[in-house]
Symmetry: D2
Subunit: 310 residues, 4 copies
């Protein structure tokens, strides 16, 4: 790492932003959610919440984007807070080896999703958080949880995106009904699905997202929302399962626990050092941000923050 | 961690050994390799090679055991040394979501194994290391690599175990012929299989194994056999794929890159801090050491070495 | 066959009924549809509609039962009548090699069910028959089709059974939403599902069912609802796919095209010779009538009607 | 059928031959067996062994071709003759829903192949026939069985084809070793594989093949090699499993029990009426003869021999 770090880091982020903006191939935005498909892929932002309490950024770091599956990290943390480790009786902790929306594995595993970060597992986690309440109530709790984590009251749910998903969410509906048929849903599928779709539609800037991850990085001054133990375990899940069937490659190339969303955001945790958010809406083959993954790779190289290095 | 660490660590290891010896359920040794099935499960050893150059141990740390799949780490390192990153054209880097000896996924992926730590991937890696040489030659190179890493010339291949496997290795033979049919084998299946079975039959003590992992932990004084970059990436693979379909759970509970073998050994890496080997021959549901996994869990808690914690 | 056939056949049916009534193990009724689970399994009926125009029976042949998946034969015939062979663009004609309600294969085949007799394929067929109409209209057409085929106006839909299924049909809802997500549904899932569940709830006696199959057997005097060509092809599908993952065994043991339902009914076709209906509500491992299958086996042996014999 | 049948049938076969010779697309010969890949695809022959004892033909009916998987019918008949119905403990009777050489299903079914006509099942059947004897002995018995069935001593094993397969048979070797690992092989894999490859290399003309099928059709004058009961059951298996993952479509379009081979041959049985062999070396998507399937379809239409028609 540059000797003048963290000063050098700010320079690095600016240079990285410049570099990324010349990307030959931004990838394509998710095409199955109309509101997202319309987003210009040639956008980029990165923010780093540091151990010293500062958050530094580059690019469009104050532009809210749809966090989509990144929300699964917060839902998991909130659900664990609500019902504790009994959640693990309903969802596993293993990589799936399949696409994020696969239903085949669910049949084989008799309705217990492999982990909370594939869609089926996130639906179960949302169902646990919902816990027979009105969706409005559970969503308010989740939003409050994230706002508190980021210390920012402006984080909101984008109703247009939520509505956009409802029209196309038949794959998720299939998962929900399937889980229900195995007795792994406590609420009516439509209740859980509505909650799930709204949580995916939470909009955040990279700055807000990076700050909300400080609790997972165990940074001093971060709001105390979860125990160190639980943070460590959520980080472990992000490492092994956070990028769907590209998780192994992300660990190999970047070496940080991370969770991606089809909105093009990625949240990464460097335990004890930083919480990082990157965003660029175009996706790669696995449904993870193409330019964002490249930026993560370079940042990890520059900082030496990989958890796998000496 | 105890303030008196690493002095406190020695005490902890002794206490851990005492505790583990009272295990109510040791698990059962692998039953499909006759030489291993005959091993007394009620055995335990742990060794920690530390940053200060010392290696401390408890239990039967000078008793050689069959490292079995732990050898896949060394074969991978040696094969990468021989042919470089072209290896990744032949084998992936993703968790498999299936048992260690599954062949179904291989059909779906058209003969490219998901990662180098499931049997199919390890056979491909061995095939790459063999590289049209005589098995004897490749095995000599591999053994030399490990001896050099451990700085111990006494590490050897247990011919009885190798012979024991040859009689029962039809599942591996199926994988090898299958890989061959997809053009993902350079050598005749029998050549690669013979090499593979002998490498699995390497015998080491926990002390030797812990010392051989120092290169991956990037400890000062460790023999320079691989670059820091490559070590980091091998560690990443150990984290996401090192315990077969129990990898996610190991990451969740222990938080260290690790590779297990059906001989009951586990090698774990705490980057910059230590290389750890634990051994107990009885296995759990996933084919990983039952008591060894528990010991790893406790050691991680005591030391705070999880890579996911602040 | 007895020389005095068909006179001998009536005697055989009576003897068969006597024999079946002493069954040591009737199997268990389908447990996932409350109205069916409550049915007494110790019931049996058989009817044979013959080439000479007569229908002979034994057992409880005038007791209506829920035909469930046997309805898929009629829906297929009616849908082919409505939209013709374009249906085959949406559903295949191959045995599935999996359970009747599997969703895994559907993922692999990208939303095109393997055949019209597994649930996914029947839902698509129903969707084709519904064809943007009100469910009531499509159901009226289907019921009229069956009544005409059986020349019996008393055939009806059992609303209690339909309601019973709606409460438990989440597995089918999962299939419907999944098909929709692949673009293989023309109507809203709820519309198609409602139609599907009502058609499964059609109640018939074995006598009515046997008579409704005369069109498939090509018996003289049968109402002309489908061409000989189409009848032949539906029979072929019944042979290869009519008993889910027990189709091969039914062909092997009985040798007649047949379609079973979880209500315990089986419709069998002996081309040019007879249409046969058997009913007994207890099911075997594959979800086909246990005693009914045994009776079919004995009838085939007695009559020599297997299509595979000289 | 033409009123002047069977006289009209001879004319029809000649016309069919003329028509087929103008095929726009013959398909491509199997490419993975070098000796077969070199065969000119633009060839055609058809032979019909009739109830009156005569065999009539058109095209290249006296040219031997490699029967390949058609041999599985004879091996099954011979193995059942040797060990009886205990064979069904080792192999199932259900369509597989997968490709002929799939290994994935075998893992799921724990080493019991779905039916005797996919490669895994045929290897088990061959293993049963081999029954600890020398391959030479079992092959002699099988060849004698076929020669006797066809009443033709000139049927032979093409050693060039057998050798050609041995060089490329790694997929089959994988299946054999895999079966062995599950305890479903009595002989050393190499012994069974050698036998299997030689039986696939049997060469026959369509005339010989049609005549050898008379026992299955139950034609008068056919050599009495198997009981009527067994013939009926083998026919059932040919119907549901004889064309791999194209079996349902063949039943739908042709309506006769049939077994195809990648050499381009198809044996079809019209119970009580005829045994038919057709040959054309180019294959369709499922690995069945392209022009041969079309010819079978037309023959079935002309004769009305479909077992599913009135």
């Amino acid at each position: 790492m540059s000797e003048t770090f963290p000063e050098g880091l700010q320079d690095f982020l600016h240079a990285l932003n410049e570099d990324m903006r010349t990307a030959a191939d931004w990838g394509a935005p998710a095409d199955y959610i109309p509101e997202l498909a319309a987003v210009d892929p040639a956008q980029f932002a990165i923010s780093v919440a540091m151990a010293d309490g500062r958050t530094i950024s580059a690019g469009q770091h104050d532009k809210p984007f749809s966090i989509q599956s990144v929300s699964k990290v917060f839902t998991l943390a909130a659900a664990l807070g609500r019902i504790g480790d009994t959640l693990w009786g309903r969802v596993g902790r293993e990589p799936s080896g399949t696409a994020f929306n696969s239903i085949a594995l669910l049949e084989q595993e008799k309705g217990r999703p492999r982990n909370p970060f594939i869609n089926a597992g996130a639906i179960v986690t949302t169902d646990a958080l919902l816990d027979k309440r009105a969706p409005r109530e559970a969503l308010a709790e989740l939003l409050q949880f994230i706002r508190y984590a980021a210390e920012d009251e402006e984080i909101y749910i984008d109703r247009h995106v939520a509505a956009s998903e409802e029209a196309t969410g038949h794959r998720n509906a299939a998962l929900a009904h399937y889980l229900y048929s195995f007795g792994n849903m406590l609420n009516e599928p439509d209740m859980t699905l509505g909650t799930y779709m709204h949580q995916c539609a939470i909009a955040m800037t990279t700055e807000q997202l990076a700050r909300s991850g400080r609790m997972l990085a165990g940074l001093e001054g971060a709001p105390r929302l979860i125990s160190a133990d639980r943070a460590r375990r959520i980080n472990a899940l992000m490492m092994t399962c956070g990028h769907y069937d590209g998780s192994g490659d992300f660990a190999f190339r970047v070496g940080l626990p991370g969770k991606s969303g089809v909105g093009g955001g990625i949240l990464m945790i460097a335990p004890g050092k930083a919480s990082i958010a990157v965003w660029s809406p175009g996706l790669n083959y696995y449904g993870n941000s193409k330019v964002g993954t490249e930026a993560a790779h370079r940042l990890a190289n520059f900082t030496g923050w990989s958890v796998f290095g000496a």
